[in-house]
Amino acid sequence: MASLSRGPIIDCDVHPTPRSMDEIRSYMKQPWKDRYSGGGRGFYGNPLHGARLDAKPPNGGPIGSDPEFVRQQLIEEYGHKHAILLPRAFCNLHPDPDFASAIAAAFNDWLADTWLGKHNPDGVFKGSITIAHQDPQAAAKEIERWAGHPHFVQVMTDSGARAPFGQRQYYPIYEACEKYGLPLAIHPGTDGMGINIQPTPGYPTHYIEWHTCLSLGFQSHLVSFLTEGVFEKFPNFKVVLTEGGVAWLPALMWRLDAEYKALRYEVPWVKRKPSEYLKDHVRITSQPLERPDNDEHLLQVLEMMDAENILMFASDYPHWDFDSPKLAFPKLPDALRNRIFYENAKQFYNL
């Protein structure tokens, strides 16, 4: 195991779960309190199991709902310095923007009181502000409500959307993110659900197809951010692509840079080769890390994508496709390992 689990870790994708939906409801006003009944992303439940079977808290409650057990099974087990928490509110699929915003706000209040509050005396847990992107103005206000909180380090949204994220209707969100120094994390979920468009030609039949193709939405959002000039308009705005896959990035950037040589004409606000914006504006988290049979091939991809500067480790605990800090990666050079597992996130989130 030499060098596989050395050094500090910041884990950029950990999922806390409410003990019950009543816990979320307790933070809601009427009429939402009576109306809210939880609910996930809809289709595409994992046919095997959706979460690690050994992650059931011994004292009861849903998987991921016991902060003390998460400390034991993840934080202490692997020596995490910080875990970035991304709750799954699934509010981005609702047609009613007010309902969606109420769900987002309740999740934020809950997270602030519990995982970021009474269960966080040492500050190991850092959180994400859930927003409903159906209503960008309301989302911006929600971001403002939490600005300056010591443990909220980013804003988060599902990848599911009605339009690619570079489009201007979303700009109030990015303006607020920039103003308060909070990156926007995009996490898979609610693609093709409720009001959101499915980023494949139609609905895939199987979970294996759906799960493999989650990266398609991310690719579309990233190309949209770059070509719409979002990083020119908001020069301090940053994006984290969480759980969208990793190894596709170099090929997509080669393609986009190639197109840019002539089609720059169409998007004259894009001042640099699109790929050159990544280092300043985009981070990508490692899980689910692709593992080709030949480790050397992955190491080459990491070099191609500038992993040294833009890749941040994530485990996705406690979900079924958890990447172990010890064994998810092949052996890495020490300096690169430290960048991916710790330094990149430390700098990015100012931890």
């Binding site: 199991h49 690690r52 079977l53 050994d54 496709d321």
Partner: protein, 132 residues
């Protein structure tokens, strides 16, 4: 080395038991009356394999056809869901390259002296034995 695990009657069909033997965690399974032992560590990322679901599997079939079989002969890793044949330790997706260590298991009659009040009684019972 020989390790007495338990009485046969205490490990019924479909049940399994996880023990630490010689410093390593081992899962002992009763599959339809036969006993098998696997190392309790998935060769993928080291998850506690034997904590996983004991189940059957969809057998190779034509597109659109479902054949379910090997009921009770498969353990599915509790993390990433990789399937292993409990009888052989071999993974389903690549039995040649991905497999978990197995151990020999025997059922042996064991004589035990049990003190019942002042009388000594000899009892012969079958026990599950793992050889490492």
């Amino acid at each position: 080395m020989r390790h007495e695990i338990c009485y046969v009657k205490d490990l019924p069909m479909g049940a399994n038991k996880i023990m630490t033997l010689e410093g390593r965690s081992v899962g002992v399974f009763n599959v339809n009356g036969e006993f098998y032992a696997l190392k309790n560590s998935c060769p993928h990322q080291g998850a506690p394999l034997c904590v996983g679901t004991v189940t059957g599997m969809t057998l190779p079939s034509k597109p659109g056809e479902y054949l379910y079989g090997k009921e009770g002969e498969i353990v599915r890793c509790p993390w990433h869901g990789w399937e292993f044949d409990i009888l052989t330790g071999k993974s389903i997706y690549d039995p040649h390259k991905c497999l978990v260590k197995t151990y020999d298991v025997a059922v042996e009659k064991v004589e035990e002296e049990i003190a019942v009040e002042t009388y000594k009684v000899k009892v012969e019972e079958e026990k599950v034995i793992v050889y490492i």
